[in-house]
Subunit: 397 residues, 3 copies
């Protein structure tokens, strides 16, 4: 482990540098000098317009997801640290994979928009990471990042380009996909010894407060998740309002509503519709936490550390179904069948991709922690002794 | 309590959905298809311009106010959680109430600007929440939110539309109003048993560091509080500079300066004027913490948990007085009398509204915590035992 | 101490107010009324464009640097608090000093751009603060702020106006300068009694998690450090992409890569070049932490609390050298000699300025803490007893 992880990280990084050297160029490189001024001024405008939204998405990915998972009492460093690792690798790999799919054999050009899309591809891996949090090694997460982003990009291409389905806020392609992928991996990696819980699988008062930082930053910037991919013609104004309203509405399952309205965020829906949809998602999420998560652990052999099924999976499905209903009611001109196909393909590719990934990660040489060492930073980090072991100290007393 | 709060929250949420269904529409709904393209491009520009400022205000409301109040050692979850609850309800209710006052019988249209204004209305309740922090139930806070936002919208209408007074940074209408409303409520709900303090009414090292997060985010984004309501003709550029300068200036009472310059932020005042004003507010605030707060608790029977009188009340009054002085010196073309009327009406409606609210909240069936249970998360939250009760453990030793 | 610090702070603040009263005006004051409308609309556009970037820089300065230094177990209040103190004074003083150098005898006008530049000048002092963290008094930091910003502004003028060297991301003028200035001060203030460490010079689990907040906010907004000073003609689009890419790349020494690419961020360099440069900086940084820092403490008599040499010093030098190499390869039309002169002058002025500052700070009447009291908030703050002294409690057990 001490050698395997840095070795793999360095090899992957060199691979990324080679891929970028071969295939990637800055967006403006092609412009000839005389065109440069004109193009630049337009590009610059678009750039300045998108830059604050890009930073919002960045805050969600790095602070939001990172701190959301700090709730475990001894796993805060790993939550933030592995989150950063996944995101750093994912941003590069997502740029390449999405670039290949959309550039049709030409050089991949990178601009602010590609980087936002790469951030999105990274979000799916971070959602799946939540399902296996504390039970996997950083090396395993590097492998999951590589596979999941490739499958994600394929499904995204299918949904957007082939089915031409509407999923502007990514209820299906990011949230449902990420959750079911992670659940499939968690199912394969199930550790029956941890069925009744683990002494480290609990939070402390402060670790929960740190997690609140993540929750708030995710919640606040949620509407920024939609805009960048929307073109001016896509009624982005209404989508934003729609998302903002739903947000406002969520009191119990804070983030579930935002997930659920993703699919129909650009459809012609009345404010009260979005509020109702948010309420339903919140209720479904709470019920999921209360009844489904324990059932999954004990009956299905799927242990979902962060409860991503309730936060991303179920609300994502609710969002997908709401999209189908909205299309059926004429709120958008995509077809019902294609929306349904998009939902099925998102869940289907996620489950198949997750199962295969799980089997690969089960191979015994990726440095997975022993049952005893689960949910414990000190396996991978040099941890300060005070405060960290005070918990243990008090418990032992 | 276990039943009353969710019941009330659900009823209020259904009421909000019904109100939105009846009265609210998206800003662009009225435009006919052929107008849509033109309107959209202009609207879109305005939207993109305001969106980053909206997010700044959002960060202040949710992270700033939320974490500012985490300083109590056992009340961090409630501070952030009830803050989120108030803000979520307040945003919806503020949209409706402000909409009714400004739409003159037409449908209320929501856009980014209304949402920013609704965020502002919410800020007053969060200020008042600081005065009664730890001594009230979430149910009581829902009721306070409903009443206070209605009174706030009335006073705001009076100050802006009838008196036509200048208060662009809201020293009077938000800060002084919120503080005196909260103090009036706190006066009515006074618990003489807690006069000499409470064992939980203290901070820990980490709870204070969490509070620093709130302080910094409030402080940094303070200038964003002004801009959105200012129209291009209002010299917003200078207002911003003005606020930024004052900020810079505040070293002791970090936030007081920002409060004080709110009223004259758009007036023609020299940079050094704003710095001096900020200094005065900071000094007044420090003196308030040192001498007034203890006096209020013991002599007046008003126990102000967060010291909102020093942070918002006094600097708000200083700001209002500075506004009167600036107008008298010819820095703006509003009238001295109207500025004075605005200050009096802000304090007057706040005190009357707060007293009535306090009397309603004193009714014995809102699940208020017993004296013993004040400042304690575990009344409303399932709290992790480790770290939380370690404090108690050490104390007992 | 109890008297010296507030006295000095008040005197400095009055000095600032006087300086502003004499020399500073708002950017728009000169415009005559009839010109106002036109100028305002252009200015307003530029303002709205720069405002989000300004806020990003602000977040880096106050939250990023502030929380980055909270890792010490008993020095969190001082880290955030003195950081705020330095930044508040630095912003005002930087405005004046930079204004004098660039305004050629005319009144200094302040706008959003000056304030961003003043934020930058403040960053150098915060970097130097990291080298002496825990071993100096707030009074000493006020003096260092005054001297360092003056020297910084001189060197910046030299590099930009005289040498006309390229350093858009400030690898040399901010990072290397700040680090070597701080190291020189730390060298003069060396305490041989602390050579083998200090009982408070360690972190706790939570203090390290707070430091993660700082790291992430610094990391995310890093690209915003470049843009504001770049003019449209400077190819800012590519610079951004360049910085973003490098960022992505950094996994070990998270922030070092961003430092290193500062100098050539606006040069015509291929994406993979920036990724390679980031990797080198990361590696150099890690090696520095492992081998150089202990060597500096024991052999050179320079104790660098936060390891700013590894985070800012070395990567800054790498960035400066990369700039020279890039210019030699024809990536920019500045001269190799001038780039080299810029690097030398940045390090040279920093070391000389730092040595002089160190000698002044060594005078025995600035209230420096005794060896025993180093790294301890309770010398300057009223600290809550619980949780804070629990560390000590456990240790004693």
């Amino acid at each position: 482990m001490r050698l395997k992880f840095p070795l793999m990280a360095i090899v992957l990084e060199i691979a990324m540098i080679v891929l970028f050297a071969l295939f990637v160029e800055y967006e403006m490189d092609q412009t000839t000098p005389q065109q440069l001024n004109i193009t630049t001024s337009t590009d610059m405008g678009k750039f300045l317009e998108l830059y604050p939204l890009f930073q919002d998405v960045h805050v969600m990915i790095f602070v939001g997801f990172g701190f959301l998972m700090t709730f475990l009492k001894k796993y805060g460093f790993s939550s933030v640290g592995i989150n950063l690792l996944i995101a750093a690798l994912g941003l590069q790999w997502g740029t390449v994979v999405q670039g290949i799919l959309h550039s049709q054999g030409q050089k991949i050009t990178i601009g602010i928009k590609n980087m936002i899309n790469a951030d999105f591809s990274t979000a799916t891996v971070l959602i799946s990471f939540g399902a296996v949090l504390g039970k996997t090694s950083p090396t395993q997460m590097l492998i999951m990042t590589i596979i999941e982003i490739a499958v994600f990009a394929g499904n995204e291409y299918l949904v957007g380009e082939i089915f031409k389905a509407s999923d502007i806020g990514a209820s299906m392609t990011i949230h449902a996909f990420g959750a079911y992928f992670g659940l499939a991996v968690a199912g394969i990696l199930y550790r029956s010894a941890l069925r009744r819980g683990h002494k480290n699988e609990e939070s402390t008062y402060y670790s929960d407060l740190f997690a609140m930082i993540g929750t708030l930053f995710l919640w606040m910037f949620w509407p920024s998740l939609t805009r960048p991919i929307a073109e001016p013609g896509d009624k982005p104004l209404a989508s934003f309002m729609f998302l903002l309203l739903t947000q406002v509405h969520i009191q119990n399952a804070t983030l579930a509503g935002g997930v659920a309205v993703g699919t129909c965020a650009d459809m012609a829906i009345h404010p009260f519709g979005s509020m109702t949809l948010g309420s339903i998602a919140g209720a479904v999420s709470v019920i999921g936490y209360k009844f489904l998560t324990p059932l999954f652990t004990t009956k299905l052999g799927i242990h979902d550390t962060c409860g991503v099924h309730n936060l991303h999976g179920l609300p994502g499905v609710v969002g997908g179904l709401a999209g189908i209903a909205a299309v059926a009611l004429g709120a958008s001109n995509t077809s019902v069948a294609m929306q349904a196909a998009a939902l099925c393909s998102s869940i289907g590719t996620a489950v198949v991709g997750g199962l295969i990934t799980g089997l690969i990660l089960k191979l015994p040489f990726w440095g997975q922690p022993s049952d005893q060492d689960c949910y414990d930073d000190s396996v991978y980090w040099e941890c300060p002794q005070t405060c960290f072991f005070k918990g243990a100290y008090i418990e032992r007393t």
